[in-house]
């Protein structure tokens, strides 16, 4: 009779309960750690995307140097060039490191920051190279993302010959 009641109520034995609790807690643990590392992964990917995007800054610097025909002034954090615009008029282009932003100054008027607000320029360096045939500028750029908790700094290097006087 007692046995019959236990069967009808459908109770679990202690061993059964222990087994299921252990199984579910292992699975729950796996899911929670996965979710945590996924959140971390997405944060890393975002920061990484910022860094990839900052290669556009180096691309812009390279392009302006390539099109220029004369260096007006050059220092580690400031480069001013003489170039021609689309309608062949003279123009000046200046790259200036201001705090952690890289300013683009065209015809002595501030055009805007080349880096997006999520990117900080931690170091910038311009070096002039003179050859018998012309001039070139060696540029190096260090960037980091404000969304990167580890604060990793990535470097871009380039050297560009001024094609305007080649």
């Amino acid at each position: 009779m007692e046995n019959k009641i236990r069967k009808i109520k459908g109770g679990y034995t202690l061993v059964e309960m222990l087994f299921y609790i252990a199984l579910f807690s292992v699975l729950a643990l796996a899911i929670i750690t996965s979710l945590i590392s996924m959140t971390k992964a997405f944060r890393v990917t975002t920061a990484q995307a910022d860094l990839v995007q900052s290669s556009a800054v180096m691309e812009r610097i390279s392009r302006e140097i390539r099109q220029a025909y004369e260096i007006i002034s050059i220092s580690a954090n400031d480069l001013k060039l003489n170039a021609k615009d689309e309608s062949d008029n003279n123009k000046t282009v200046e790259f200036l490191l201001f705090g952690s932003n890289l300013q683009l100054i065209e015809n002595n008027v501030f055009t805007g920051d080349l880096n997006s607000s999520n990117i900080q320029i931690t170091a910038l360096s311009f070096t002039e190279i003179t050859t018998p045939a012309g001039k070139a500028v060696k540029a190096s750029l260090s960037v980091k993302s404000v969304r990167d908790a580890t604060g990793r700094i990535e470097n871009f290097y380039n050297t560009v010959v001024l094609r305007g006087d080649y």
Binding site: I8, S34, T45, S55, P132, T159
Partner: protein, 160 residues
């Protein structure tokens, strides 16, 4: 007795159902995790690809600068030998001592250039001692795998 049997069955059935549901959830979360890890790997790789592209561009310009300084800077180099760039004395110079830039290694190899009867560059023909074929290779190690990017271009003695 019939009710007892069906309740027993029901209990077992619910347990199996729950197990299946949980294992589906676990598998899908693990799959999403694998995707997230792959995305980190790929985004890291894309950054390195763009950094390597700039290093290649710099390598090509640096070799041209060495040529502009004096053709002998290029013509005196051994063919099929690894050269590395170094910046010293305000200009780029080539040397055989290995050097790296962050995680990257940049090698330059020179080989002979040949021309046909029309003075066009071809892969075999009359040797042109005033021209070299430069091959620049930027390689880096990532996740135990070596990646590399290469460009090739001709360099001629146009300034002397």
């Amino acid at each position: 007795m019939k009710t007892v049997g069906s309740l027993e069955k029901l209990r077992g059935f619910m347990m199996v159902e729950i197990l299946i549901v949980i294992s589906i959830i676990v598998v899908s979360v693990l799959a999403a995790l694998a995707v997230a890890q792959k995305s980190i790997y790929l985004s890291r790789q894309s950054l390195h690809q763009s950094q390597a592209a700039f290093l290649l561009e710099e390598g090509a310009e640096a070799v041209r600068i060495a040529r502009d300084n004096a053709w002998v800077n290029v013509s005196s180099l051994n063919l099929s030998t690894d050269y590395y760039l170094s910046f010293s004395g305000g200009t780029w110079t080539l040397s055989t001592s290995p050097s790296g830039i962050d995680i990257f290694t940049r090698k330059i190899i020179f080989s002979s250039a040949y021309r046909d009867a029309n003075e066009d560059l071809i892969s075999s023909g009359a040797l042109d001692s005033q021209t070299r074929l430069a091959t620049i290779d930027v390689s880096w190690l990532e996740g135990g795998q070596t990646f590399s990017k290469t460009i090739q271009f001709y360099l001629a003695d146009i300034f002397s």
